[in-house]
Symmetry: C2
Subunit: 409 residues, 2 copies
C-alpha cells in the first residue's frame, strides 16, 4: 500500500496543537520555554510515542523522535519548531513539525519500511521572541552556537535564563550530537509570492543573506521660515535621500534583491523646524552574497556623499551581516521534481526569512518546501494556509522522504 | 543738535528688561500675561513715563506711549513685543520696543520737535507660546482678530483665560482704536542671511506666505525578507518620495521659496517590517502668493500620483494657509536709503517668520528693519546680536522716524 497523507489527520493535529497556548481572539502564544511551550512539547512527545518513535531530548531542549529504518544509518530528518511569537498563527513552524508527524503516521498506516530511519524534530526557540538569538536550538544542535553560552542567555524581558527555564519545564536533556543524512523542512512561505503567482509549492534554494545597517545623520536645526534652502544642514532630507536610494537600488538590481527602510525618526520633529537629526535603518537581502555586499558597499559610500554634500555628518552602524545560505541543489531538484510529478505548480525560490534549515545546510544536504501564505501574512493571528495547499506540501514532503530513505524501493 | 542713538543707553535697557524673567543658565522666560510679563510691562510703562510720554493700555492689554508732535495727526508708531517663548533670548521682540524707547530718548535729549507724534508700542502675546493664536494683541488692535473671542481664549496649558489674566495683572484697559500714519518695527532677523552675506540691515519687504500640509500615507505592513519589491505597498517610501519632492521643488523654484519637512513618522517602525503608515508635514513659504499656491497645488497632486503608483492611500490635511503680506514699497525704500546713507550694507529681503508688523500692513504704510542674528539663532537662550549691529539698526529706525515725522525739517 502506498503511503498517503491524510489531510484530515494532519488538520486535526494542527488544531490540537493550535489549541495549546491559544489566544483570546485568535492565534497562538507559545513563547519559547513558557508553560504553553511546555504543554506543546508534552503534546509532541506524546504524539511521537503514539507513533512508536524513540524520543530524544538534547541539552538545549530540542526534541526529536526516530522511526527506525532497515539500517542504522543516519536518519533523514524532518524539522521545524513549535514555539511562536506573542501573536503567532497556527502554521509558522508548527506545520513543519506536524507534517513530519503525519509523514510518520502515513508510513505507519501503510506499513512502509524505509532503508534509512526517519527523524522528526522540534527545535528550541526558533523565533527568538523571548530569548535572542533566534534559531537557538538548531544552531546549538549543528554546532553554530555555543551550548553553555545559550544556556546562560537571559530573556529579553530579563525574567529568566534559558538553562533555568529548560530545567523548570523539564526539557533539559543531554548532549546528543546527530548529523542526519539529509534535512527537510516544510514551512509556510510567510510572503506573497506563491499566492500571487498561483503556485502551490516553493522549492527553496536557500536563505537570503541579510545586511542591516543603521544610519544616523546629524545636521543643524533651523527656522523653517528664516533659513534659505542654501544655508540649511537638513539631517531629515539626507535621511530621506538615503531611504530613497536604498529603494531605488533594490528596484534597479531586480529580484531577489530587496531593501527596506523600516525605522525612520527625525528630531526635533516639529512642523517649522529643520531637523538636526535623522535615524533610519536599511534592511537589504539577496541570495547572492557578492551582489549583496557590493550593494551595501555602494549604499554606504553614496550615503556618505549625500551627507557630505549637505554638510551633515553620518554615523553608519552595521547591525547585522549574514551571508546567504545555499541549499543542496540536488535535493532542491528532488523537491521540484516531486511537485511536478504531482502536477503541482512549483518554482525554485529563496527564503526571505531565516529557518532552522539554514543551520543544517553546511553539514548535510538540506532543502525546504514552501506552501502559500494567504496574503503573505505571518507572525499574525490571521496567518492562514488552505488545507488543500497543506495537503500538497505534506505529500511532496512524504514523496521526497520516500525518495531519500529508500522507502518503496 | 541732531538726535543720536546712544548705544550705551540702549544696551542698558536691553539688560534691564532682560533681567526681568531671566532664566537660571541664561535667556529669558516672560510668557504672555504671567507675573514676569507683568513685571516687564511695569518696567516699560515706567520707562515711557520717564520719557514724558502719555501712556495708553487697550482692551487686549497692548501698551503704547505717545510723544507729542507739533500736530495732533496720527502718530508714526514703532512697535514690537516684550513677551517671550519659554526659553527666549534677550532680543526677539524686546529689541524693537527698546529701540522705540531709545528713539524717543534721543529725540528728548536733542530736544527735537517732530510734526507727527511718535508712538512706541508693546503688543500682547506676540509669541503665541502660552495662548494661541500668536500676534494676538496687534491682531486685535488692527481688527484682524475679535476682541471678545481673544479675551476668552484659554491658555494651551488650560490654566487661565486671556481676559482673566489681563485683569489679574492689571493690564485690562479699554477699547482704544488707533491707526498710525505709519508703522515701523526693528527686529532681529532670526535667520542666517544677513550674517552669511556680511550685511548689517535688512529692509524687509513683507512676510512670506505660509502653507502647512500634513500627509498621511497608508499602505500595508510586510515582511522585509519575504516580500519582493514589486508586491509591496510601502507607505514609508511614499512618504520619503513626497519629502524629497518638496525639497527638490523649493530648490528648483529658487529663493525665496523654502520647503521644510519637519515631522516624519513611520509605523510600526521596526527594522524588518515594511511600514504601513507614514505621516509627514511640509512647511512651504514664499513671498509670492501665486507661486506659493501653485507650488502647493503641484506638491499635492504629485504626492497623490506617487501614492497611487505605490498602491497606497493618501490623506492630505491643510494645517495652515496664510497669504503673503507685502509691506509698503515706498517705506521699504526709505529704510533701504537710510541704511545706504549711513554706508550700512543693506538688502531688501522678506521675513520668514511672522511679526506684529503684518497686522498693520493692510491699514497703514508699514515696514520692518532687520539686524543680523548670530548664527541665525532665535527662540534660544543663545540668541545674540552684536551691539554695533543694534546701534546701526536703531540709528536707521531713528532716521526713518525723523524722515516720516518731519523732525529736523
Amino acid at each position: 500500500m502506498t503511503p498517503q497523507i491524510s489531510i484530515e489527520r494532519l488538520m486535526a493535529s494542527v488544531h490540537e496543537l493550535g489549541a495549546i497556548g491559544a489566544r483570546d481572539g485568535g492565534g497562538v502564544c507559545r513563547l519559547a520555554l513558557t508553560d504553553a511551550d511546555k504543554a506543546g512539547r508534552d503534546w509532541f512527545v506524546k504524539s511521537l510515542h503514539a507513533l512508536n518513535c524513540e524520543v530524544f531530548i538534547d541539552a538545549i531542549g530540542n526534541i526529536w523522535g526516530i522511526r527506525a529504518g532497515r539500517t542504522e544509518d543516519a536518519p533523514v530528518m524532518i524539522g521545524s519548531h513549535i514555539d511562536t511569537v506573542a501573536t503567532g498563527g497556527l502554521y509558522d513552524g508548527a506545520l513543519g513539525v506536524l507534517a513530519g508527524l503525519e509523514v510518520i503516521a502515513a508510513l505507519n498506516a501503510s506499513e512502509t519500511e524505509t532503508d534509512l530511519p526517519v527523524a522528526v524534530a522540534a527545535f528550541t526557540n526558533e523565533e527568538g521572541a523571548r530569548f535572542a538569538p533566534d534559531m537557538m536550538g538548531s544552531g546549538v544542535h549543528q554546532g553554530a552556537l555555543d551550548l553553555d553560552e545559550m544556556l546562560s542567555t537571559r530573556a529579553t524581558s530579563g525574567d529568566a535564563l534559558v538553562g533555568e527555564e529548560l530545567r523548570r519545564i523539564d526539557y533539559a536533556g543531554q548532549d546528543l550530537p546527530i548529523t542526519p543524512s539529509a534535512y527537510l523542512e516544510l514551512h509556510i512561505e510567510q510572503g506573497p509570492v506563491l499566492e500571487t503567482e498561483g503556485l502551490k509549492i516553493g522549492a527553496v534554494t536557500g536563505v537570503q543573506g541579510i545586511h542591516w545597517t543603521e544610519f544616523t545623520v546629524r545636521g543643524q536645526t533651523n527656522h523653517a521660515g528664516t533659513t534659505p534652502m542654501s544655508l540649511r544642514r537638513d539631517a531629515g532630507q539626507v535621511g530621506f535621500a538615503i531611504a530613497r536610494l536604498a529603494d531605488e537600488m533594490a528596484q534597479e538590481l531586480g529580484e531577489p534583491q530587496v531593501a527596506t527602510v523600516g525605522v525612520f525618526e527625525v528630531s526635533p520633529c516639529l512642523v517649522n523646524v529643520v531637523p538636526d537629526r535623522a535615524r533610519l535603518t536599511v534592511d537589504m537581502r539577496n541570495t547572492d552574497g557578492d551582489i549583496l555586499t557590493s550593494a551595501t558597499d555602494r549604499l554606504l559610500s553614496q550615503a556618505q556623499q549625500i551627507a557630505e554634500a549637505a554638510e551633515c555628518t553620518l554615523d553608519i552602524r552595521p547591525l547585522a551581516r549574514f551571508a546567504p545560505v545555499v541549499f543542496d541543489d540536488a535535493l532542491v531538484t528532488r523537491v521540484e521534481t516531486a511537485a511536478q510529478n504531482r502536477q503541482l505548480p512549483v518554482k525554485r525560490m529563496p527564503s526571505g526569512a531565516g529557518h532552522d534549515a539554514q543551520m543544517f545546510a553546511p553539514n548535510c544536504p538540506t532543502a525546504m518546501i514552501f506552501v502559500p501564505s494567504n496574503k503573505g501574512l505571518s507572525h499574525n493571528i490571521n496567518e492562514h494556509t488552505d488545507a488543500t495547499d497543506i495537503e500538497a506540501g505534506a505529500q511532496v514532503l512524504l514523496d521526497v522522504v520516500l525518495d531519500l530513505t529508500g522507502g518503496l524501493k
